[in-house]
């Protein structure tokens, strides 16, 4: 007989934001699914359980009519299942093909990265969050979507406002206003470029959407571009910083990777396993389910904590350690199932082969600052929010 999910009430939301890993471990050791009051969600934290949930979209649906994401962004393919999801995904696929990434995006992103690193080289110190990772992610995404050039801060602000709006469970009016304002800005930016992309087919996402067969309806374009902006900016940004941090904190591993550049892809995968940029995403239980002995009633919202699963000690040895040399095991940082991150190969290429290698190559003796330690935050999204460094200018 399956039993009801245990309940944890003695955790505060701040604890989750600051360091979710001890909490994730406690939940993982308690039961396959645990209701955590501070999150107002039933959390699933074990690797195998998340994998099995992702293989059963009929029971664990992404479709959620009441979702805040839909309210803030419109009808997005993130919150659809089956054919409806697949159609949206297929429409953007051409922009994300490995060949397109190699031939078209990689040279463009290399150029952006060269300019950014070139402009800060003389300074000898910087916070890599605002000096490199955030502008890099923003400018690349702008190119990929097919927007007119704009200050990197604009897209970054839109992204943050949308994320805040999608997580606005307290229904704060100011957060909602900013999210709606960002949405209107994005709609206008799309409108400004549509005719251009219609007339000039190219690898950008907007072009893929208007030239899809059948073309994506405008309201879906608007919603899906918002999802891509909400999700496509912070993940590469956070992965750049996490990989850099992992190497800077582990001198011997850094030396090995720099000596053997073929280790970069492994180092990248280890970084996003260690601190997964997307730590949690939701699913809705569509019918009474038994998750490894825990009864989940119909309609309950569950949070799949991939950030926790990626530190599941049933699967990873000493999971809290950043270790480029751990035995190869797949992780869940890109999710699993039909919603597996469409940006996987772009981020592998951009973060693991372009940006972080170039950073270590061009900024000699790159090091952390003892007087200004890095700050890492978040549990739904997690990453360094400040990474001050010095180098020999």
């Amino acid at each position: 007989m399956a039993s009801a999910a245990p309940v944890i009430t003695d955790i505060s939301y701040t604890d989750l934001l600051e360091d979710p890993y001890p909490i994730f471990k406690r939940v993982r050791d308690t039961a396959p699914a645990v209701f955590v009051a501070a999150a107002n969600l039933t959390l699933v934290t074990r690797f195998d359980d998340i994998m099995s949930i992702e293989r059963d979209p009929a029971t664990y649906s992404s479709d959620n009519p009441a979702s805040l994401v839909n309210k803030v962004m419109g009808p997005t393919f993130m919150r659809k299942d089956g054919a409806a999801h697949a159609a949206g995904r297929k429409a953007i696929e051409p922009s994300f093909r490995p060949g397109t990434i190699k031939e078209h995006w990689a040279p463009k992103f290399t150029g952006i990265c060269e300019r950014l690193i070139g402009s800060l080289r003389e300074a000898g110190e910087a916070d890599l969050f605002s000096a490199l990772a955030a502008p890099m992610a923003s400018l690349s995404l702008m190119e990929m979507i097919g927007f007119k050039a704009m200050p990197w801060e604009t897209l970054a602000e839109w992204s943050q406002s949308l994320i805040d709006g999608a997580g606005n469970y307290s229904r704060d009016a100011e957060i909602e206003r900013k999210a709606m304002e960002a949405g209107a800005g994005i709609d206008a930016a799309i409108e400004a470029m549509l005719d251009h992309h219609r007339a000039n087919p190219n690898p950008s996402i907007l072009s893929s959407m208007v030239h899809a067969d059948p073309p994506m309806p405008i309201e879906e374009m608007r919603a899906n571009i918002k999802v891509i902006i909400g999700g496509g900016l912070n993940e590469p940004r956070d992965a750049i910083l996490t990989l850099t941090l992992g190497l800077l904190e582990n001198h011997a591993q850094k030396e090995s990777v720099l000596a053997k550049p073929e280790l970069w892809p492994t180092a990248f995968e280890e970084a996003i396993r260690w601190i997964s940029p997307i730590g949690m995403y939701p699913r809705r239980v569509t019918r009474p389910a038994d998750l490894a002995g825990v009864a989940l009633p119909e309609g309950v919202q569950i949070g799949l904590c991939v950030g926790a699963a990626n530190r599941d000690d049933r699967r990873f040895i000493e999971p809290d350690r950043f270790d480029v040399f751990r035995p190869k095991q797949s992780h869940l940082a890109f999710g699993a199932g039909a919603h597996f991150c469409a940006g996987t190969w772009v981020s592998r290429q951009t973060v693991g082969r372009i940006v972080v290698p170039m950073l270590f190559e061009r900024l000699a003796n790159l090091r952390l600052r003892e007087d200004a330690p890095p700050v890492i935050r978040g549990w739904v999204f997690r990453g360094p929010v400040s990474l001050p460094v010095r180098w020999d200018a």
């Binding site: 093909r97 490995p98 797949s330 199932g337 597996f340 991150c341």
Partner: protein, 106 residues
């Protein structure tokens, strides 16, 4: 209901009775064949269901589509002329006795 013979990286064989219309990836996972990860569960997005197929059966295996073809350039184990993403290959009756080799890394 063709029988498919999976050969794992360590050389062990797994004879599985497959159900038509399933993908080869689904058949392998259902039978617990080791070495197939299938992170994207069939969306042709992860390249972790890579397998080597028996060329004698090429007529029923078919050809890789454009997207799959590009994805195959990113497999963890070497891509060969026999490489396919097993999630993109559907079971048909004529696959009776077909061998599918699972690579050592995904």
């Amino acid at each position: 209901m063709p029988t498919i013979i999976f050969v794992a990286a360590d050389g062990t064989t797994h004879e599985v009775t497959a159900v038509a219309d399933q993908s080869v990836m689904e058949v392998a996972l259902g039978a617990g064949v080791p070495g197939i990860v299938a992170e994207c569960n069939g969306a042709a997005a992860c390249a972790t269901c890579h397998c080597y197929f028996d060329r004698a059966y090429v007529d029923c295996i078919g050809e890789a589509g454009e997207h799959e073809n590009e994805m195959l350039d990113f497999t963890a184990s070497e891509r060969t002329a026999d490489s396919r993403l097993s999630c993109q290959v559907r079971i048909v009756a004529a696959m009776e006795g077909m061998t599918v080799r699972v690579p050592s890394a995904q």
